[in-house]
Subunit: 249 residues, 2 copies
């Protein structure tokens, strides 16, 4: 009997070269490679893990989802502890369930939520140096929130798609794009049916230009309508970004 | 004119061999050594930094205090930015003020507050792996809180003083010893006029035995009255411990 197992995975992206196994550089440390090695250790045969989202180098995850097929009879609830006992301390499996044979973590994903953490404080916080972008200038969150509203709904996001992507269709639907403020820590929460290459970091970089007062909130709409990568702000660094949750039907 | 400068210092203890410069091992990475090197870089002469508390390897600080004498005319409010521009990312100066010539960070300290973080959750949290002790068993915080009350006030804490200390007087006064609960994160807050070698980690280790149900809350008093290190619980690991604040008159 082959079982299809869905895992919920958390990782600190600091010391990973992103999620995906790099076939040209098989010794690069990626989350997928580390997990596949741990799975092989348990089931004694090569396993391919299908991830919901390919996070970049330095990007974190609280709720990455991945699935794999196995004939191993381990009860599904035992998978997290079995894997965590082998995995290095910067990646952990925090949930497992058996899913239908057709389930595919990438194709079945309906929505994803990412969080981007910004520490808006005079001094850096050593404990957040790998976990939030430190911005010492006072940011205008009212303007940033107003600007974020322009990307809600379905648009062509070509202006926010980094070079190096082979994607042809740049239309995506944004369901949520808002800020929550927890003291000096600002969290940008964005939910969409999918994201283009470095799209969130490009959106955050553009919002930061507005927050710093370099452009008015309406500039966000101008950038969006230009469909030109050269119009947007700089790409924000990866260490503030977290894949928070992947939604399935 | 010689000025006496008091600094407030934050550090992630993970990659430090504690606070204090080790004269026998001058190449060991300590917080004091890293800060003295940064100071020397600015004032162009050797500087001795006097710290309030000597934290051990792996122990963190949010509010360590240290002072140094200098003839450098930099305005006091410029010291944090000047030092942070040189310091590595795991240590930061978050405050500076000029103090009387006689001020001595160690001897003038009246009270210190330490926090110990415990993640009481089924699964580890990769983001807290260096910042909180993960305890998967369900802890009884009612019992731990009750046990913590026995150490309030002035007592001989010899039972909680690790070997390797040359201190003769084991009497200390505890002003606060309580738990706060923030979801799955438990913070033990302890304030005293001073602490013996590994005293807090030994107290936390003893409280954890009680929280796990191995001993009743009253065992805390038995251990305290025994004045014998062999009676207490194991020393909790350093990575959950933070020097939170040092109090002066």
């Amino acid at each position: 009997m082959t079982a299809n197992i869905k895992l919920i995975i958390q990782y600190d992206g600091t010391n990973f070269n992103g999620w995906q196994v790099q076939k040209k550089h098989p010794h690069t440390r990626t989350v997928q490679a580390v997990l596949e090695k741990a799975l092989k250790c348990i089931v004694k045969e090569p396993v391919t893990l299908i991830g919901a989202g390919r996070t970049d180098s330095g990007v974190h995850a609280r709720g990455q989802v991945a699935n794999f097929l196995t004939q191993n009879p381990i009860p599904v609830e035992k998978w997290p502890a079995a894997l965590n006992s082998i995995l290095p301390p910067d990646v952990a499996v925090v949930g497992a369930e058996e899913v239908p044979a057709e389930f595919h973590a990438t194709y079945w994903a309906k929505k994803k939520t990412y969080h981007y953490y910004i520490l808006n404080a005079r001094y850096p916080d050593v404990f957040l140096r790998n976990y939030a972008l430190h911005v010492p200038q006072r940011l205008n969150f009212g303007d940033m929130r107003e600007a974020a509203r322009f990307i809600l709904g379905t648009h062509d996001f070509k202006s926010f798609c980094a070079a190096g992507s082979s994607v042809k269709n740049h239309r995506r639907t944004i369901y949520e794009a808002d800020f929550s403020i927890e003291g000096e820590l600002i969290v940008f929460k964005i939910t969409a049916d999918g994201f283009l290459y470095k799209m969130i970091r490009s959106i955050v970089g553009t919002l930061l230009e507005i927050g710093k007062g370099k452009y008015p909130p309406g500039w966000m709409q101008e950038v969006l309508e230009a469909r030109d990568r050269k119009k947007s702000g700089p790409t924000a660094p990866p260490h503030g970004l977290y894949l928070d949750r992947v939604f399935y039907d």
